[in-house]
């Protein structure tokens, strides 16, 4: 799986999920249609998005996605067209949500983040775990080996469904 496209740089740390999508837009029952509300919790968010209409890759700073567990944050990013988020660190729940929605979360060192924030575009090879900025030499990153499979094939729910017999057997064994 190759993700290739222009970068939107959000040069800020600690973007919480209320800023990614405010609670007033959490009134649906499906995962779709939330892209239009992306970053409306950031005063300059919509303006920033408008500068890079076709961006596929978001680059930002540490602790991205902290706060509320709302998966709507990942859905809004995906619905808007993002396929990968690059940051020095992610909040736990957002990190899991990203994997569960095939929004590839890439952790890079602070040093490489500086380069990525200045780059115009990137090409990401999810399988090989490499990325190239503006056509430059490939940099490597690492993904969670299990959750990577959720991105590449079938998704998280399907994986869990395949485990149900094991889980039932464990439950019976552990209650004895």
């Amino acid at each position: 799986m190759i993700i290739s496209g222009s970068i939107l740089a959000l040069d800020r740390a600690n973007i919480d999920t209320d800023q990614i999508i405010p609670a007033r837009y959490l009134t649906g029952i499906t995962k779709s249609g939330l892209g239009q509300y992306l970053f409306t919790g950031l005063p300059d968010g919509p303006g920033l998005l408008a500068t890079k209409p076709g961006a596929r890759i978001l680059v930002t700073r540490e602790n991205f996605g902290c706060g509320s567990s709302r998966e709507h944050a990942a859905w809004a990013l995906v619905d808007h067209g993002f396929q990968a988020v690059i940051a020095p660190s992610f909040a736990r729940i957002f990190h899991e949500n990203a994997y569960n929605n095939a929004l590839t979360p890439i952790v890079l060192s602070d040093e490489l983040i500086e380069l990525a924030l200045r780059a115009k575009s990137a090409t990401i090879d999810v399988e090989q775990e490499t990325l190239s900025l503006d056509g430059g030499a490939p940099l490597s990153f690492s993904l969670d080996p299990l959750r990577k499979q959720f991105i590449l094939g079938g998704g998280f729910m399907r994986y869990l469904a395949s485990k149900i017999p094991t889980i039932r057997a464990w439950e019976i064994a552990s209650s004895q």
């Binding site: 209320d18 800023q19 007033r24 959490l26 995962k31 706060g67 660190s89 736990r92 998280f156």
Partner: protein, 458 residues
């Protein structure tokens, strides 16, 4: 090598080790609310034949916007209702509901040693009972309903050892804010906070819930506190608990669940509980707080200050507020309402003030004590239970640029309404601020005539 309490609970629930640092973790109880459950439930219906692993392990609650405020939120609640009914899942709904993190313990759905999850970050509240309880996204929530398991990487454990005893007007909320300020608002990322020490054992269950509720505000996976007699006494007689010998047998097992004497932790912090003073947040994350008698630190983050319309060095007690809110899963249980009522009794609010009980059961208990009269006599609005303005969705959303002092847990930009500003504090500080019209504490209020302070009608 001894084990921490968290490790013991974790180890008992591992179905299988998975590639990487991951494990398949069995989940004993799934809590479902109307904002984050329908998506996973619909996916199971479409893709997996509507089969849930064990509906009896699920409890559903309409809480975030209840009653609905418009057609969309009505649909969310209705989807939860219809789904729960179809699967025979117990649903707490209008009239008998409340914020899920308040309802679940008060009905006795949480027990020491359990694992629980909910598509809501403040599920960590339930760690107060010695359970491993965590917030997750809607897909993971769907997975937990489909297979009663989560895929988790094992968190590290941070011991937060609090010695001494809270006093001098300091509450569990002040402790929670102090812990976040000392470890940093991302300092808990990757950890479970295991709270120990004399100041922790002295807390009531309601106070422990306030403390654990805010574990997520340091980025932590959750918080956890060892069960003891206080825990047992709280759970005895609750709706979902058995009585008599069956309960006693459970209680015995719970009391045996604790960290080993020689438990090792990945990291530890020590806090002197006796030194904690009432605090209030001044910035845009819960780690940015300071004692109410103090000033905004000179090294305060300028971005936070610009958003909040404040300056470094400013006295916190000089900050005028436009609205006060007592509510949320952090501080809207009976003891919180009593603490607020103590301050309101015989006085009048200077700004619009909303008091929202954590559940309908709390509401009824408060009314039996006449607290609703105290709030309304003071000029505050006494509402039914819901999440309300805590998340800026209904029942008191604040206007851009205005400032609300709140007993809730998040002060992120726009949290309680677009461009609104939030100051977090304990119910007593919120109540005092409501009367003063600025941030302030109960000790600043004019003493009342004796008869009035005893609640005797003049």
């Amino acid at each position: 090598m001894g084990k921490s309490l968290f490790e013991k609970v974790w180890d008992r629930h591992i179905v299988e080790q998975l590639p990487g640092d991951n494990a398949l973790v069995f989940i004993d109880r799934v809590v479902a609310h109307e904002i984050t459950t329908p998506q996973g439930a619909l996916e199971i219906e479409h893709d997996f034949g509507d089969a849930l692993y064990d509906p009896q392990r699920i409890v559903a609650i309409n809480d975030h916007v209840s009653p609905a405020k418009d057609a969309d939120t009505a649909i969310q609640a209705q989807v939860l209702r219809v789904w729960a009914k179809r699967h025979g899942i117990r649903l707490y709904d209008i009239g008998d509901n409340g914020i899920c993190h308040v309802v679940v313990p008060e009905r006795g759905y949480v027990e020491p040693g359990m694992t629980l999850c909910c598509g809501d970050s403040h599920t960590c509240t339930l760690g107060a009972f010695g359970a491993f309880a965590l917030g997750i996204g809607s897909s993971a929530q769907g997975g937990a309903m489909l297979a009663s398991c989560l895929v988790l990487s094992r968190p590290k454990v941070m011991r937060v050892h609090v010695t001494g005893k809270l006093g001098n007007g300091a509450t569990a909320k002040d402790l929670a804010l102090t812990v976040i300020a000392s470890i940093g608002f991302k300092g808990g990322t990757g950890y479970v906070l295991e709270y120990t020490g004399s100041a922790i054992s002295a807390l009531s269950m309601e106070e422990r819930m306030t403390l654990c509720n805010m574990a997520i505000e340091s980025g932590a996976t959750t918080g956890i506190i060892a069960p003891d007699e206080t825990t047992v006494a709280y759970l005895r007689g609750r709706e979902q608990q058995p009585s008599g010998a069956e309960f006693d047998a459970r209680a015995e097992a719970w009391l045996a669940l604790r960290a080993d004497e020689d438990a090792t932790y990945d990291t530890s912090v020590a806090i002197n509980g006796s030194a904690i003073r009432p605090v209030v947040s001044w910035g845009t994350n819960p780690g940015e707080s300071a004692p109410i008698t103090g000033t905004i630190p000179s090294d305060a983050d300028p971005t936070s200050l610009t958003y909040m319309g404040l300056e470094a060095g400013q006295a916190l007690r000089s900050i005028a507020v436009d609205q006060a809110f007592i509510g949320s899963c952090t501080n809207a249980r009976l003891s919180d309402l009593r603490a607020a009522a103590e301050v309101f009794r015989g006085r009048k609010v200077a700004i619009p003030t909303i008091v929202t009980p954590g559940s309908q059961a709390v509401r009824r208990a408060a009314e039996r004590e006449g607290l609703h009269d105290v709030f309304q006599d003071a000029g505050a609005l006494w509402t039914h239970s819901s999440c309300g303005p805590c998340l800026g969705m209904s029942m008191g959303v604040i206007a851009p640029g205005t400032r609300c002092v709140s007993s809730s847990n998040r002060n992120f930009p726009g949290r309680m309404g677009a461009d609104g500003r939030v100051h977090l504090a304990s119910p007593a500080i919120v109540a005092a601020s409501a009367i003063l019209g600025r941030l302030g504490s109960p000790d600043e209020l004019e003493p009342l005539p004796l008869a009035q302070s005893r609640g005797i009608a003049a």
